[in-house]
């Protein structure tokens, strides 16, 4: 019983991070219809930024979160202006291919610059745990889970309670209409993509404290993000929280009761079943067309 609960807790903590990781993906897709195949690479970049700041300057990874946020925000803004702006109005095929190319460039550059070595981020509190009713809750995991929640709530707040957020949602629903109402679409696109990349990078920072860091870590996270978003509904940002939790719990339980090595295969299996049976996600609000 304890094993099950421990597994469940692990899953929830993991799920929060997955949700944070997928939020940016859902945002970019919901607003701009861009399926970003390089998504995971921004997780990787966020992780590396946090890692190097800690290793080279000794700055605590939680304290450097705003820095990561800022760096990746500008990266996203820059990428949008340079490349992705040309993709609006063009068939979606192009965005898949372009972001795929971007994925190759980013992961290739990372490989070249930092080599394929696995790295871990170990702070003074990395190994310390909170023990509750016999269940082990690592401090850093709990903290990252809480930050992930803050991230998601922050995004929710941005989208539903600010002027900019309203403009973003209007653009997502109907770009033409939004433009006619005075919304500067390209600015919104750039901003939205920048936000998407920024929060993904932030998720990467959180992930850096729990997972192994290496240049090709991006790919599994792109697939994870996609899975979360299918579970929660593509383009439906609130759904990503639940999608993340479900995936986290599913992976944790299957790791405990089956085997760790097949996580990607099982995730894919879950994905396939989801797509066959309920492609709009658990809430049925996913964008299908």
């Amino acid at each position: 019983m304890i094993l099950f609960l421990q597994s469940l807790i692990n899953g929830i903590l993991l799920g929060g991070i997955y949700a944070a990781c997928a939020a940016g993906f859902s945002l970019a897709f919901g607003v701009m219809g861009i399926v970003n195949l390089s998504h995971g690479d921004f997780v990787m970049l966020g992780a590396f930024v946090t890692y190097w700041l800690f290793v080279l300057l000794g700055w605590d990874p939680f304290l450097t979160l705003p820095i990561t946020l800022a760096i990746l925000f500008f990266l996203g803004f820059f990428l949008q202006k340079l490349m992705l702006n040309r993709l609006t109005g063009v068939p979606p095929i192009m965005s898949y291919l372009l972001t795929f190319g971007l994925h190759l460039v980013l992961s290739g550059l990372a490989l070249r610059t930092w080599t394929a070595d696995y790295r871990t981020l170990n702070t003074v509190y990395t190994g310390l745990n909170l023990i509750v009713f016999g269940l082990v809750l690592p401090y850093s995991r709990v903290a990252t889970f809480l930050f992930a929640m803050v991230l998601i709530l922050g995004l929710y707040f941005l989208l539903y309670r600010t002027e900019v957020g309203r403009a973003i949602r209007a653009t997502a629903q109907d770009g033409e209409m939004a433009r006619l109402m005075g919304v500067r679409i390209f600015r919104i696109y750039a901003f939205t993509f920048a936000v998407s990349v920024a929060i993904t990078g932030l998720a990467g920072s959180l992930i850096a404290q729990t997972f192994v860091i290496y240049p090709q870590m991006g790919l599994p996270f792109t697939i994870t993000a996609f899975c979360v978003v299918v579970l929660g509904g593509l383009g439906y940002v609130p759904g990503t929280l639940f999608g993340g939790l479900i995936l986290g719990i599913f992976e944790s339980l299957s790791t405990t009761y089956l085997t760790a090595g097949l996580s990607m295969a099982l995730t894919f299996f879950l994905l396939l079943i989801m797509l066959l049976v309920r492609p709009g996600g658990i809430f049925g609000k996913g964008i299908l067309e």
Partner: protein, 313 residues
Amino acid sequence: MMGIGKRTLVILSLLAVLFAVLPALGLEGYRLRLLSLVFMWIALAGCWNLMSGYTGYIDFGPVTYFGAGAYATALFMIRLDLPFFVSLVLSGILCAFLAFLIGLATLRIRGAYFAIATFAAAEALKQIVLEGDRVVGFEFFGGSHGLTLPVPPPSEFFYYFLLAFTVLVIGISFYLERSKFGYGLRAIRGSEQGAELSGVPTLSLKIKAYILSSSLIGCIGGMEAYWLTYIIPEDVFNVLRTIQMVIMTLLGGMGTIWGPVIGATFLTLVGEFLGTKFVYDYLILLGIVIIIVILLLPRGIVNLVKSKRGGAQ
């Protein structure tokens, strides 16, 4: 427009015969293998084009079937002692079935799902092959040690096999350019809703195209397994194969007959010339090439030539 030009047909037949006769005329060793390699990539890129080029639904995981075909063929030959061609055909059927499942799940909704799900499929299958033995408890897939196949026939066998496959794939492309099936696929690419409204059963056609593309790729994978004699997951499920199929077709021109041919020939020869295999720089370069092609030359080389010619008219 509907009938294939008599002159084109004659020229192509002569070329096919020429290539078929080359080994007898003394083509051997390195050059034979190089030409075989070119044929293989033309066939692979051409198969990828059948689905992604003609329907517009981008398949990001063709290597799933390459690997599946390789492993299935190897397993049939090793575990069941079946002859090569029987194993190959069975592998093709297996791939067709897998493609049907994945296609049914992902092709009913927008292309994004198909793109990413196929992306994930390759990783998933690779994992199953790598870890499967540990889960079931006995030696089947061979894990990271890989599998060793029976001794293959000499290189000429594979040369002819690949030449035949290339002819097959180009032939299918010709067929697509002028058949009802082909028009249906291109309608889907042009406007899926328009196609549906014109009576095209889009889901059925998409799945058929995907099954066709995937089972052929699976067969080529099976052949490769036999040729290499020793396969490991990292090699036959290597995402680099997907990347190369995509780039070759993109560069040459998606949805055209000659696009994959030009792209594959060019990139294979360039790759051989530069001597690059799996180097980080190569990946970065490929990524940059994709980005540049998308931004500047989205229709590929073939269409660049076509529009220049069209303009002169």
